[in-house]
Amino acid sequence: MSGAKRPQPQSSSAPAFYNNPHVRAVFYQILLVCTLGYLFFVIIANTLANMEARGIKTGFDFLTTTAGFDILMSLIPYDATGTYLDTFFVGLLNTILVSIIGIILATLLGFVMGVAHFSRNWLVSRLAVAYVETFRNIPLLLQIFFWYFAVLAALPSARNSLNLADAFFLNVRGLYLPAPVEEAGATLFYIAIAVAIAAIIWFRRYAKKRQDDEGVQLPVWRISLAILVALPLLASLFGGAPFSFEYPELRGFNFRGGITVIPELMALALALTVYTGAFIAEAVRAGIQAVPHGQTEAARSIGLKESKIMKLIVVPQAMRVIVPLLNSEYQSLVKNSTLATAIGYPDLFTVFVGTSLNQTGQAIEIVFMTLAVYFAVNMTISLLMNIFNRKVSLVERK
């Protein structure tokens, strides 16, 4: 024990109140809110003054007035007598159409190219790398222009169109496909498909239960496929052919009948597919590389086949890395589809923000509606992907 007196802490000077973190936090936030509030006030005041000076109307009344312009392509009946609200829906549906096409094709292409990177065939893996490095590093708009102005514009005229089995025609004006027309047996056919899907779902559950209980693996894929083919086939045997096809025919200078895919849609879908596919391929590669090599080795050592290793060991683990990346790729695909406006594909942006805004001048309302739509679409994608993500993510100990 030392007899020395320990110096007492001098508690007389409590920290000044302005050094209190809580006080500071409140102060900073008040400052921030005031600054932003002032900024907003100035912006809104300026905007109102400007709009009045330029004679811009406000409100959503314009939505019910006649638009008076034609749209190149619409999935719902539309002509120049439609209202601005109709143009909104036409544009929205066209945006959704090109997004869905782009997402499906880009996912297929991306997965093939991402897996091809690991091919034992040197040429295949080099080609996959070349594809990714080429298309990832070139601006999307340039690719859209390339497909539209350089590739599709070089196709032959309607008279000399590329012809496949007299049913598919490709020319400078677009791609012409046979259109299915419902016949008498169609209802039975639809019912058969619904029954087949229900049967497959039931069968998969049953197969899983069998495997859990008895360890027997049933050939799920083959039987599912058989059900899916056989039931509709039987339905069309009994109920008569469900569809007849309306083939496109050359009349005068152009094709009539069938389904027409306009070149704008083709160019946009192609460019979105190829561009996003490169990013998805990178995501798939990253996902597969993230699976520790020991997993594959362990799988080999218990004698699994290479195809089973991929399906049961590698892909499920890789999906945990891939799915969040896919989520953002899909969202950027939808956002990038606005570039349609550069080649005149009538998507929401072209029709609504382009033409409708030009005619009505109601910038605030139209931009607001459009942004809300893109937010909503992206939220939907995010929601779906998060549900999917929960399915593939690792279930940890609780």
Binding site: A25, N46, W122, L123, N137, L142, F146, T341, V367, Y374
Partner: protein, 373 residues
């Protein structure tokens, strides 16, 4: 007597095994990598046939039977590509319609950009930390002063004449440079304990990330003028720059967020134990680690922004793609040179972006101090 009739076992050497098929050399490489089983062989043959079918005509069109010299459309006589077109428009494609006598100003600002960006490599350690950031932040304004010319007593060049690929480069770098610190602030705000600061940051980040870039540009060109007091005329390029910077900041904030999540809590606790203040902790301890962790994403985002500068075509800014489109519709050049033009711009962009991604890989390797195997 024992019957010793068992014949003596004669040593009979087994036939020597055949030499192993060569495991090195070009033949073995071919066998292992291209003709590894029937399926692979078939794929190889198909791909080779495809390449043989595509590449020779392509090379022929690109090079062997292409026209390289001349000044007008009439010099393009052969069946190949017409590179004369690119040559004739090269100045426009790179410099826009900047006056001939003033082109040195664009060159000077590009050289300055290169100097500023490469400075971390050659500045001595002691100066680096002090000068780099200052140089970076000042650069965009210096470049604008040089190009505009009024401040420096040079001839005034209105932004209407700025254009071409140099505009893409300068706009992209100016907005990346300012977007990065702004994004860091937003990311800090998102992690902050202050509810107001947090929600404002979240709204800003989600807005600029959730909206299509094109819509942002559109708002910049249509709505931003409404926000300024009546009668003020804000330059079109300035508005674009504001939009690009905010866009970059939104994306960078998310990149930093990923970086923040990778920093162990111990780092904060250690710096708190040392008695460092919030800003000291953030700038001296956390920021360097965040930057190290998120370097690949920072460069990927920069590359994305650089590619997105082509979208400015849609709001009527004469960047390189827009110049190419103008050239294609020029009445003296109606021979349909779209492929040449897009190929050229594509290659230029590809070189820049691929180069940047190589630099990213290089930096990543340099900064890698972890022990991942």
């Amino acid at each position: 007597m024992m019957n010793n009739s068992t014949p003596a076992r004669v040593f009979e050497p087994k036939p020597s095994q055949p030499a192993p098929v060569s495991t090195t050399g070009p033949l073995a490489w071919l066998r292992n990598n291209l003709f590894d089983g029937p399926v692979n062989s078939a794929i190889t043959v198909i791909i080779l046939a495809f390449l043989l079918w595509v590449i020779p005509p392509l090379l022929d069109w690109l090079l062997w039977s292409a026209d390289f010299s001349g000044t007008t459309q009439s010099d393009c006589t052969s069946a190949g590509a017409c590179w004369v077109f690119i040559q004739a428009w090269s100045q426009q494609l790179f410099y826009g319609s900047f006056p001939d006598a003033e082109l040195w100003r664009i060159n000077l600002s590009l050289i300055l950009l290169a100097v500023v960006l490469s400075s971390p490599y050659w500045l001595p350690h002691t100066l680096r930390n002090r000068l780099d950031l200052a140089m970076l932040v000042v650069y965009p304004f210096v470049a604008i002063a040089i190009l505009d010319g009024r401040l420096l007593g040079l001839e005034y060049v209105s932004t209407d004449f700025w254009g071409g690929f140099s505009l893409n480069l300068l706009l992209a770098s100016a907005s990346i440079i300012l977007g990065m610190p702004l994004g860091f602030l937003w990311a800090l705000g998102r992690r902050s304990n202050m509810p107001m600061a947090r929600s404002i940051s979240v709204i800003l980040i989600e807005f600029f990330r959730g909206v299509p870039v094109l819509a942002l540009f559109f708002m910049g060109s249509v709505m931003l003028p409404l926000f300024f007091p009546e009668g003020t005329n804000v330059d079109k390029l300035l508005r674009v720059w504001i939009v690009l910077t905010l866009f970059m900041a939104g994306y960078m904030a998310e990149v930093y967020r990923g970086g923040f999540q990778a920093i162990p809590a111990g780092q904060y606790e250690a710096s708190a134990a040392l008695g460092l203040s919030y800003w000291q902790t953030t700038l001296l301890v956390i920021l360097p680690q965040v930057i190290k962790v998120s370097m690949p994403n920072i460069l990927a985002t920069s590359i994305m922004l650089f590619k997105n500068t082509t979208f400015l075509l849609i709001i009527g800014i004469f960047e390189v793609l827009s110049t190419a489109q103008t050239a294609l519709t020029n009445s003296n050049w109606l021979g349909g040179y779209a492929t040449e033009a897009y190929l050229f711009v594509g290659v230029v962009y590809w070189i820049c972006c691929f180069g940047m991604s190589r630099v990213a890989a290089n930096i990543e390797k340099k900064l890698d101090t972890s022990h991942k195997s």
